[in-house]
Structures are given as structure tokens and as C-alpha cells.
Amino acid sequence: MSNLVKLTINDTPVEAPAGSLLIDAAKTAGIEIPAFCYYEGMSLQAACRMCLVEIEKAPKLMAACVVPVAEGMVVRTESEAVVKARKTTLEFLLTNHPLDCPVCDKGGECELQDMVFKYGAGESRFTEVKHHVPEKQWSPVVFYDGPRCILCYRCVRVCNEGMGVGALGVVNRGVVSEIAPSHGDHLECDECGSCIDICPVGALTSGAYRYKTRPWEMEHTGTICTHCSDGCKTTLGTRNGEIVRGNNRDRSGVNGEFLCVKGRYAFDFNHHPERLQAPLLRVDGKLEEVSWSRALQVLVEKFKAVRDAKGNVGVIGSTRTSNEEAFLLQKFARTVFGTNNIDHHRSGDVATLLDALSGKTGALGTSADCYTSKAVLIIGADLSQQHPFLANQIRANVRHHKTPVYVVTPGAVREDKTAKKAVRAGEDWLAAVENLKGSLAGEKELLVVFGDAVKGEGLRKLVALGDSLGIPVKYIALVDYANSRGAMDMGLLPDLGPGYHAVEGKAGLTLPQMLAATDLDLVWVVGANPLKKASLASSKAFVVVQDLFRTETAERADLVLPAASAYEKNGTVTNTCGEVQRLKKAADTVGAKTDLAIIGLIARGLGVNLGKVDADNVFAEIQKTVRGYNVPLPVIVTGGAAQTQPVNGRVPSNVLPDLIRSAGDTLFTTGTLTKYSKVLNEVMEGPGGLYR
């Protein structure tokens, strides 16, 4: 603990750690010093002059954002001189700032508006014509309106330091200074929109959101992004039931305010015109729209017949549906059909990791560990492309704590730039890690983040190597999608039930085995697209598909049921670190039902009692029955993330390493959903090796 320094702010005694900034010390004491350019976690700029305060014995007003506290310092933040300086600063900032607040996207949540309201003058002495330049579009999602810009450099810093991209700069000087994009007239970057988010005024605006609504006309729902497996909280702004904005300005959730292009913009699939809004039944070889009651009648009859005839059933679950849905699906399959032919697209070897860590505590890394761990080892993963939030955490860790990062990847990655050591290795990653052993053992602790190349025996060897380092080691097994981890935890596996318990009876068929089997009578696909690049061998199978769109798999179906997206349901999902978070319903699509509701309706039709089918009730059952999921409910209910506990017992898994394969999405792809996101298709950078 650093020494405390005693100072006085506005006649109030304040204590703050030595070296802390005056602006922070005041904040801790409940005294607000206004600022634009100062931004927690970013480098200091001292550009806006808004935080000027009076310090006794200092010859003039000082910028509180760059002055460290000192013993005996006497500070006034509301003295006459300070108040006057603030008014003048705001008057200057408004010299060329257009007063187009009524049509500005930022109006109503603009920091400049708020500051002028609180500290500014109602009048200006400037009568000169305002300097004006036309607005520019830099990318499908980023627009820049120069005159509104107050040159606080927040966007430049968040892009350089936060994202590690460096796509923004400030060119020219004086009144003609402006923010400039990396490629002359356009941006080539992550398109994450952090610059727009962090802009205190309406200078940077979002192509997806601009001119759609006034901020106060939206309803805000904090839910979990449905794309990659990092589990970022995205607060969806909806207007008249349509999602118009995604951001996380309230910094709730594991990700704080961070979001990538997917969390911020790729909610647009939700309103894609091709969303299914009525069930489709195959009639005379063609899929035709039918009513829900007709669809359910056909479905229940078929399920009944297959169940009674003890027919062969294959069930393929989703990497995006909620834990509750995954749990109920496997429960239905196992109890009603008595089958273990259940699987999903696997992308990380969590089962082997949990088994290898059996008996250890504190060995599972969280997203917070990526920021706090004293050393990080990345194996076989392009984090900046595939796990943007974890990559951001690690970048911040390096920036704030100078943490050594070791990179072992087949190709160049963005993390190389700040890595202590970057080694190129693909299949031979283990040898490369062994070569690093000397350096790794010298660290205080280690967080190992690994991709799909690390699985089966290799993973066991990695854990053994970790044990031999003699330091605390934590692991994160990377998986692909929002609930890839939950799908495994919930037992969408042929050999493991919920909580990685061995299944009763014989293990079922794996996903490829199901596709190859010729004797399946019924194939039930919930929120997956296994036939995207494969075909179903069993021609006699009746195929039921629950999905948002008419996917390749839906085209083969006999019955397609329109499903609600993750943004249209309540429930929980588990991110790649095993952190459970709550989905909250933000929107509705007419005609679509949640997979949970659909499973419930089928059960009712069959006269099967699965318990009360609602998200809370099923989660209560999960808490009771699934190993590791006895997490504190209040944490989740209040929008927090609760990490599942390790299973702490052997996992009787017979992992087939070949089945574990990441889809290899980039920043701009997201599996089947890619096709339906206009934004992801418009940004032209991806996929690939930008900024490496």
C-alpha cells in the first residue's frame, strides 16, 4: 500500500495515495472536477483545460488531471477564478462548435451540453462566423463531423493505446486541427466504434445509429453479446421494439465499456428481412408456411411415433442458445427418447482441461485475470481477431502493469508487438512452450490462454508443464461462440451429461457420426447449422430445425420452427472463462418463439412433465444438478458474472481431438450469423491479418 498524502480540497481534508492525480483524489472525496480529455486508464493529455483548479502557492490555475497530490496541498475547485476559467474554457470550446444539438445524435447525452448546462455561460462574446468543414464518412460505421470536435484526443488514445490499432490521429494545428483517419480519407481498422463511444460530443457518430432516434426515446436492456465467447455485456437501445444501438456506457459487465464491432453493431441480424416469422412445413417437397398450431401438431405426432417405435434419434444443439435451453434439450432427449445421440459443434477441449485440473483450486482463469495476471502465455490463438475482449484485457494489462506476455502462435498476431517473446509454432506448440519454460518459471504467476490446437493429450502435457513451473498457473480454454462453453457444461455431448458426469448407458453418436448414420428416423437441430458444409446420410430422417433463418440445414428440414434470438430471451449463458451471465430480453420478432418455449410446447403436446418451463425455474434446476453451477444467484440477477466452480473430480471423457475445431472466425465473421449482419458484410477489412 502506497503512503497516504494529506491535502485539503475546498476546506475538506482529503487523503489520497501518493502519486495519485488531484482529479482522482477529488473524485474519491466526492468532489467533481469537470474534464473532457482526462479519461481513466488512458494516457494523460491535458488538452481541454476544463479541469483547472486553484492551488495555493501555485502562480496560476493548474490542470488537476496532471497534477499529482502533494502533502499539505490546499486546493479550491469552486473559487471565483476557477468558475470564471471554466466559463471561458467552455466559451472557447463553443467558438466553432455548431449549435446543432437538436439534430445531433449526441444531444441529450453530450458531455459538452452537460458541462455548458452546469458550468457554462448563457452568452458568448464571439460574433465571428463559425469555421465550418463538411462532415466526412470514414467507414460504413464511422462518421466524423469536424466542427463538433473539441480535440480532446480521447478517440486517438483509445485507438492507439486501448485497441492497439492506431488508426486515428490529429492533423494540422490551431483552428484547422482535426481528427484524421489512417488511410487518408478512410479508416482501415477494427471498426470497433470505441472512438464513437468515447467521444464526449457528437463529432464521431455511428453509421448504424445516426439519425435513428433521440437517446431518451430508447429503452435500454443490458444483455450478453451473442457472437464470440468472451461474454461482453452489451446494452441494447431499442426503439419501438427495434434494436438501434449497442454500447456499454454504464460499464456494467465483465467488459466495462469495451465492445468490438460485433457487440456494438452486429445486432442487426436480429431485424434482417429473412428472419423466419412462421413455421415452415415440407408439403409436396417444398417448405410452406404453416401456423404454429399446425406445426406443433405435426411435430408432436412425429415425436410420439418415433418415441413409441423406439426409433433412432439424433439431437444437435446450439453454441448460442441459453444454458436453460441446452439443459432442457438434452434432458428432453435423454428422458423422452432415451438417447445419448446428442452433440454440438465443439471448439475447445474444456472437458480435458477440467479433468487435468481435477483436485486443483483457483486454476481456472477469468476475464478479469487477463487484466491482473502477472504474466500471460497465449498458445495458438489470434486473440485480437477471435477474442477481442480478452485481447483488450491483456493489452490493458501490458499498458498498465508492464506484464510480460508470451506468444506461441502459427502466424503473426497483434500481441507480438508488445510481447516479451513471440514464437511461431503450430502443431509443435508444446515444444515451443517447453523452450520458454526457463522464462516462464521466473514469473510470479501465469495465465495460459489457449486455442483449439491444445487438446487431448497435448493439453494434459501442458497442465503437467504448468505444474512443474512451481508458480500459480491458471488456464482459459478458448471456445467459439456465446454459449459454446455452456453447451458443454449442460451436457450437449454424447458421452457426458450435465456437469461432465458420465452418461447412463452407452455413449451416443457424435455430430459427424449422426450426419453419417443412415438409420436415423428423426434429427432435431436446435440453433445449429451442421449441414452448412456437410450432408445428412440418413435420407429417411424427419428433420426438425429451430432457427432464426432458413439456413442450409433448414433447407433440408421437414419442419422449421422460427426461433427467437439471444436478444429476445431471458436466460443465462456461460463465456469461455466459465463466467455465467444473464441474458435479458430486449426485443421481439413476431412469430418467433424461444427455443425454451418450443421445447416446453413439444413436451406438453407429448404429455411429458419437464417441470415448469421458464428460464428462472430451469436455472434453479441447473444450479442444483449441474456440477460447478451452484453460483450465487444475486450476482447473476444483478447483472454480474459468476464463475462456475471447477468440477473437482475426474471427467470420464473420451475426447476425440478431431472433433474439437474452432470455426476460425475473424473480427468480422460470426459463423452462420455473418451472412445476416449487414454491418459485418459492409466493413471491408476482414478477414485477416490487418495491423499485425
Binding site: G166, A167, L168, G169, V170, V171, N172, R173, A180, P181, S182
Partner: protein, 157 residues
Amino acid sequence: MTFSPQLEARFAELLTHYPEGRQRGALIPMLMYAQDEIGAVTQELMEELAKRLGITTLQVDEVTGYYSMLHKKPQGRYHLQVCTNVACMLRGGAELYDHACKKLNLGHKQTAADGKFSLEEVECIGACSWAPAIQVNYDFHHEVTTGKLDEILEGLK
């Protein structure tokens, strides 16, 4: 992009002035010397220096745009800078500038078609004690009058 051996040697020597990992500090002198040789800070030059210093072209652009003595467009063989800042203004700097404009038929930051002269109205050049002052390339001229300006211009070939 290639530079003369003299300039390369100068660059190499310059870079030794800065601690390891902070070579980007050499950017401003590199830009100035390169501008003297090439005649302007071209896009190609910015890209080359960015590569050499391990920074982005945009970062070079930021510096180039900030400093008034760095020019993206080629200057005349004789670049005339007339100060009209307070001290010079009080002693006739503005009239001097107007005279130069008429005489050369050029405006602020303009270059003559034959490439001989270019003109710029500048802020303080640090010669207030001998105001009004002008600068032709790196040479200073003090206490300039319109007549003296004509002589200076005629003396330039």
C-alpha cells in the same frame, strides 16, 4: 526511397542521439533535412520515415501538419517568410508583406509558376529586436523596408 549518402549519414548520426526505443524523437530533424533535399514532405517521404522509425504514417502526418516549417507542397527556390507578428507589425511588417505580395504577385503560401519564389506570412521568427524581419530560406534580414526588400529580391538569382 533513396536519399543522398550525405543525408543517410546525417540520419544515421541523428539516430544515435536518442535512447534505444525512442528513435522516433529524431522525426522532426529528419523531416527538416529530408525536406531540404527533396523540396517538400511528400507522402512517399512520410511513409519512408514512418517505416524507419517504427511509427505509423499518420503519426508522421500529425507532426508534419503541426509544424509550419514543414511543407507538403514544394516551395520556391527562395522561400520568403515575412513576419507580421506584433513587434514586426508595429514597425511596418504588414505593409512589408503587402509589398511582397504585389512585387512577387503571390499570396500566402503560394509558389510562383517558375518555381523561383514562394511567399509566406509567418508568426514570430524570433527577430523582434530588429523588426520588421524577414527570412529567405535560412537567412535572416533585419529592419527591412520596402526599398530594402526590393534590393534583396533583386539580389536573388
